[in-house]
């Protein structure tokens, strides 16, 4: 797993995406400091709602899951599959590496948001509630990111194509951002898009209503994605 994680950490794009997300946050923090001091710490606590969630989605769908498609992309698949540990073990190592990469991403973004906000927010009154809110939302965003990375990783392993996975997982993410929560009713299609594909969690929001249903829903998605990936690997002689 360490080798796979190091591969991720050595990808320039990984740090570029995090850097890009934090640059946007820096610009917002700067203008909040100048013109919206009253909501400065609110923006800090609300980091995961837009910038954080979007950065993590890009990080997972553009960078992390490539571990699952790059063998096929570069024609190394047969060589890897012919090695002793290149099938089940490597699949697990990569899955753990992608999840760990997502956790590190969330941690780095949270730390960077805290440091940036602390630097720019000097002199602006800080409420403890905002810190707690940020920490809680970071925890929820972490769960959402882990979930998306497992499902997207499994889909990428099935399709062996990062662009295909980007579409399959990216479209629900984008739709979720734009669906107005007030106009969707339970069990409508767009209600599933709004809440059912990790976006809400990645935005640091807990799914408070129908919690039992969502636990079953998300467990099913995770198990199903992994089960299909395993079945496909068996079929391809990669397990």
């Amino acid at each position: 797993m360490k080798r796979e994680l190091l591969r991720i950490m050595k990808m320039p794009l990984y740090w570029l995406v995090i850097g890009g997300g934090m640059t946007i946050r820096l610009v917002f923090a700067y203008f909040d400091r100048l013109y919206r001091q009253d909501s400065f710490w609110n923006s800090f606590a609300d980091f995961w709602n837009k910038i954080g969630a979007f950065t993590m989605a890009v990080l997972i769908l553009v960078v992390l899951i490539r571990l699952f498609s790059m063998d096929r992309e570069h024609g190394v698949q047969d060589v890897i599959s012919s090695t002793m540990l290149g099938r089940r073990n490597l699949f697990l190592y990569r899955l753990f590496a992608v999840v760990t990469g997502a956790c590190i991403g969330v941690s780095v973004l949270a730390a960077a948001n805290t440091i940036l906000s602390a630097l720019f927010g000097q002199g602006i009154a800080l409420n403890n509630e905002w810190i707690m809110a940020f920490l809680t939302r970071t925890g929820i965003a972490l769960c959402g990111s882990v979930g998306l990375s497992v499902v997207a990783g499994a889909i990428c392993d099935i399709s062996k194509s990062q662009p295909v996975t980007l579409c399959i997982c990216g479209i629900p993410f984008i739709i979720s951002i734009f669906v107005n929560a007030d106009v969707v009713r339970p069990f409508e299609l767009f209600w599933f898009f709004r809440y059912g594909f990790f976006t809400e969690l990645m935005r640091g929001r807990l799914l408070q209503s129908m919690l039992g249903f969502w636990v079953i829903w998300y467990s099913t998605i995770l198990v199903l994605a992994l089960a299909i990936a395993i079945a496909k690997r068996k079929e391809r002689k990669e397990l």
Partner: protein, 285 residues
């Protein structure tokens, strides 16, 4: 050790790629020879446990390789036809990575990598990115990775493709040294490679095994069937259309042809000793 291919067939969309293939390999170098589309790559992928056969099985010492799983792959070195690389890796990094996947310890991986890079003549550029490597250099990396775990079974699909003559000679030397206690199966279009190193040759045509035998035995089948004749260019052109011709040399207004024929193709034709290219034409044309 015995690697047995038992009644193996592979059918893609009702079209058989290989049909009822049976043979047994023990120690030595075995050449797989056949024209494009004969099913060589399919057969090699099945033998490398990368493809499920439609019927039949491959047995290592009597055990199905599918059920052996990791234990089989631990004994296997495989070079695919189109060996790809991670372009952002160096040759050394790629070999270290594959070595670890082959279950070698860090120390073993480092040692093996250094030895093999030296063996394939890439140690001076081992720190360079693979994206800048030529086709031949990449192929040498492929050969090195196949040898990483000191495999007992080596399956190489067109290993000499892209290698220059010097590299091919070096590769043949490596294979000969390795063949003492290993089973090596290699396919190539370069018939002279098989002639130089193979202990036995498997001829594959349209998915079926045509013949298996030692090169000398196969060549003996052509005794008295290979002829050389020197004629005018016009006469030579006509004759070359009538008989399989393995070589033509034009010199001073004359053509010297090397023809394959059961009977003497021309009154002036003289029988000559057959070679593997003649054999290839004889069986596959």
């Amino acid at each position: 050790m015995s690697l047995m291919v038992e009644n193996v067939s592979k059918i893609y969309d009702k079209i058989p790629a290989i049909e009822h293939v049976n043979f047994e390999l023990e120690y030595g170098i075995f050449g797989l020879l056949g024209p494009n589309g004969a099913g060589k790559t399919t057969l090699m992928r099945i033998m490398a446990d990368l493809l499920v056969p439609s019927t039949g099985r491959v047995l290592l010492n009597g055990q199905d390789i599918s059920s052996l799983g990791q234990a089989y792959r631990n004994k296997l070195g495989y070079l695919p036809q189109d060996f790809g690389v991670y372009p952002n890796f160096t040759a050394e990094q790629l070999l270290l990575y594959i070595a670890r996947l082959k279950g070698l310890s860090k120390v073993q991986a480092r040692r093996e990598t250094d030895v093999l890079l030296e063996l394939v003549g890439l140690s001076d550029i081992k720190k360079e990115k693979l994206s800048g490597f030529s086709g031949g250099q990449r192929q040498r990396v492929g050969i090195a990775q196949a040898l990483l775990n000191d495999p007992q079974i080596l399956i190489m699909d067109e290993p000499t493709a892209g290698l220059d003559p010097e590299e091919r000679i070096r590769f043949r030397g490596i294979l000969s040294d390795l063949s003492q206690n290993k089973t090596v199966l290699l396919s190539t279009h370069i018939v002279s490679d098989i002639e130089a190193v193979a202990n036995e040759v498997i001829l594959l045509k349209k998915g079926r095994v045509l013949k298996i035998g030692k090169p000398a035995e196969l060549l003996a089948l052509l005794d008295g069937k290979v002829w050389t004749v020197t004629l005018s260019i016009d006469e030579g052109t006509i004759l070359a259309k009538q008989y399989p011709c393995s070589n033509t040399v034009h010199f001073e207004g004359k053509s010297t042809l090397r023809l394959i024929s059961e009977q003497q193709p021309h009154p002036a034709a003289q029988p000559i000793t057959p070679n593997m290219e003649d054999m290839y034409l004889y069986f596959f044309r």
